[in-house]
């Protein structure tokens, strides 16, 4: 077993870290204060090729795959989980087209999405259907060679900035179908924008469809494929991406904990010499290593083409929970400074928490895992 990264992957990590520290870091405070999305950075990430890592070369991407994707998201998440989550949802918006689209659909949308000219999103959740996917009430009725979609989606990341949005709608009793709806389509608009306590700078809000007429050729797959498409994309791309964004937070917690503990003195010595602080740092280290290898293992499975829903759920469950507890421990290590807005621990904690239920609650992650466990270990 070779656990090392390739020279290209190491260079990619270094490059993304450089970009995140030089270009994202200066805007983090502004994002946190205003809650606004720095669209120049969103476009810039795609200019550098981060938006096209899952898209094949013939459609304008690089096709480097899922391990490379996790590297990019971890390094960006280390500086701003808000930016990492924005990017990973862009990948999620691409994924129905990448994995289930026709050749015409791929040629139509993927090149502009790879270059960041069009930003992606996936709209599934509704007030009545998040965990209960089949409970969604957005309806798509066939009229001639088009579908007319009516409904309201909530808690959609990139709701107000996306140009190409995958929308999951009911086309029959317990029949879900996936449509691509482009910005500017009459009857399609963003609704309320949410004001979150964390992940600020990552846009979350409603998507409203009022008799929105979408050509039949915008359907991904066939009627009824929507559930499979949604769950597959959310599992393999969405959950992996949320986990990677959280991984960046855990990594940052570890670095900040060590840096602060070496610098801060108490009783005439650095607090890194105090055993209680050492235990906190070790806890964060253990969480980082476990989260890291789980995230990369799941990505490796995906790059091999293997089914990995349980592994995706496991890494997302573990890493998002780890991000919250590591950020809490970091606040503790910083003492009173940990709760001040000038210091990073409080932002890491506020950014970690919204990731816990993103792309599925902890309980749903357990349901996905137990199905696989009961089958595999029977």
């Amino acid at each position: 077993m070779d656990f090392s990264f390739t020279p290209e992957q190491e260079m990619l990590r270094k490059t993304v870290r450089d970009f995140a520290e030089k270009e994202i870091a200066p805007k983090v405070d502004w994002m946190d204060e205003t809650g606004k999305v720095p669209m120049d950075l969103v476009k810039r990430m795609s200019e550098l090729g981060f938006g096209g890592v899952l898209i094949a070369k013939e459609y304008g991407g690089t096709g480097v795959g899922h391990i490379a994707r996790i590297i990019i998201l971890e390094e960006i998440g280390r500086v701003s989980a808000a930016m990492a989550n924005t990017l990973q949802i862009h990948h999620l918006g691409e994924s129905p087209i990448i994995y289930f689209g026709t050749e015409e659909q791929k040629k139509k949308w993927l090149p502009s999405m790879a270059k960041g000219k069009k930003i992606g999103a996936l709209a599934l959740t509704e007030p009545v259907g998040g965990s209960d996917v089949l409970g969604i009430q957005t309806v798509a009725k066939k009229e001639g060679d088009a579908y007319v979609i009516t409904g309201r989606k909530c808690f959609i990341t990139n709701s107000h900035i996306s140009d190409v949005c995958g929308v999951i709608a009911k086309t029959g009793e317990k029949e879900l179908t996936c449509f691509i709806v482009e910005k500017g389509t009459p009857g399609f608009s963003p609704g309320r924008e949410e004001n979150k306590f964390g992940l600020r700078g990552c846009n979350t809000g409603e998507v409203v469809l009022e008799n929105c007429k979408v050509p039949a050729e915008n359907m991904i797959g066939k009627p009824g494929d929507g559930l499979r498409i949604a769950l597959s994309c959310i599992s393999n791309v969405g959950r992996a991406g949320v986990g990677a964004s959280a991984l960046g937070i855990v990594r940052r917690c570890l670095e900040e904990a060590v840096k602060y503990a070496n610098k801060r003195t108490l009783y005439g010595k650095p607090i890194a010499d105090i055993q209680a602080i050492q235990w906190l740092i070790t806890d964060i280290y253990m969480d980082y290593e476990i989260s890291r290898w789980m995230a990369y293992y799941a990505a490796w499975l995906r790059d091999q083409g293997a089914r990995c829903d349980a592994e995706n759920s496991l890494q997302k469950f573990w890493t998002t929970e780890a991000a919250v507890r590591c950020a809490q421990k970091l606040v503790d290590i910083f003492g009173a400074y940990g709760v001040l807005k000038e210091y990073v621990p409080q932002r890491l904690l506020r950014d970690a928490w919204p990731l816990v239920s993103a792309a599925g609650t902890l309980e749903i992650m357990k349901l996905v895992m137990v199905r696989e466990v009961l089958r595999k270990y029977a």
Partner: protein, 267 residues
């Protein structure tokens, strides 16, 4: 304007963000660089960026040249990822222990082997040695003019550049005929970040490796043998403080303090 080659000299150095991890071997008086990540010398990156901008505007090719141990292949690949057309690594045990003069000699031979060039760009100094001597010495070996501390380069007439050169409290403007060696400061530009496709392509391309024999170097002029300067000692100086305690009532102490600061020339 038709451009030939811009040659950019780069060096792999310890990452300045991790300089505190560097230790000094007390016997060999060398810097222990294990466990310290290595990067392209920051000012060399600015030099490379300037070369790429010149190429993008006027045509020609950017060739990166480095005299370093084998691990500097990574630095060369990073330069390729940024957009350099070619990368050459001068790598040979015979180059070990080289000071700036010996290094400049070897680089000049490699440049002569590369052939025609309009400009050689370097970072003004490296973060490890910080001598700033290689660019002027290189120019001397190549018998071309040089400008150091360049913060802006503009092309005026065919074959001439106008360079703003940083000096204390300002800058001076010089005109220099090409070909020339120009050493740049960080004010000159913001280096580009490699793209994902640039990184992938860089790892599929060749980094040429040249030895002392390939550049027909004279044995007595390279490496330790060719180095008139030797490192005798490396140490971290102890910075002590001259303490003086002024005692008395607050008003008296203030008067005394002002008087002392006056005497010391501080105010």
């Amino acid at each position: 304007m038709n451009f030939l080659n811009v040659i950019v000299c780069i060096k792999q150095v310890p990452d300045p963000q991790h300089l505190s991890k560097i230790t000094i071997d007390p016997i060999s008086k060398t810097i222990r660089r294990e466990d310290v990540p290595a990067v392209i010398n920051p000012l060399d990156k600015h030099a490379l960026e300037e070369g790429l901008r010149i190429r993008d505007k006027y045509g020609g090719r950017v060739i990166v040249l480095s005299m370093c141990p084998p691990q500097a292949e990574l630095a060369c690949r990073e330069a390729l990822a940024m957009g350099a057309d070619e990368a050459i690594l001068l790598c040979d045990r015979a180059f070990a222990g080289a000071d700036t003069l010996s290094t400049s000699y070897s680089l000049s031979l490699a440049i002569k082997r590369i052939g025609g060039f309009n400009m050689i760009l370097c970072g003004n100094e490296t973060v490890d040695g910080s001598t700033g001597q290689v660019p002027p010495q290189l120019a001397d070996f190549l018998n071309v003019p040089h400008v150091t501390r360049a913060r802006k380069i503009e092309f005026t007439n065919e074959g001439m550049v106008r360079v703003e050169r940083s000096i204390e409290y300002g800058y001076m403007v010089v005109e220099v005929t090409l070909p020339a060696v120009i050493a740049v400061t960080k004010e000159i530009n913001v280096p580009r970040i490699p793209t994902v496709s640039g990184i992938l392509e860089a790892h599929q391309r060749e980094v040429k490796v040249w030895t002392a024999k390939d550049i027909e170097a004279e044995e007595e002029k390279i490496g330790l043998a060719g180095s008139p300067t030797q490192v005798v000692d490396i140490f971290s100086p102890e910075i002590g403080r001259k303490g003086e305690i002024l005692k008395g009532e607050p008003e008296e102490v203030v008067k005394l303090l002002v008087q002392r600061l006056h005497e010391l020339g501080v105010i």
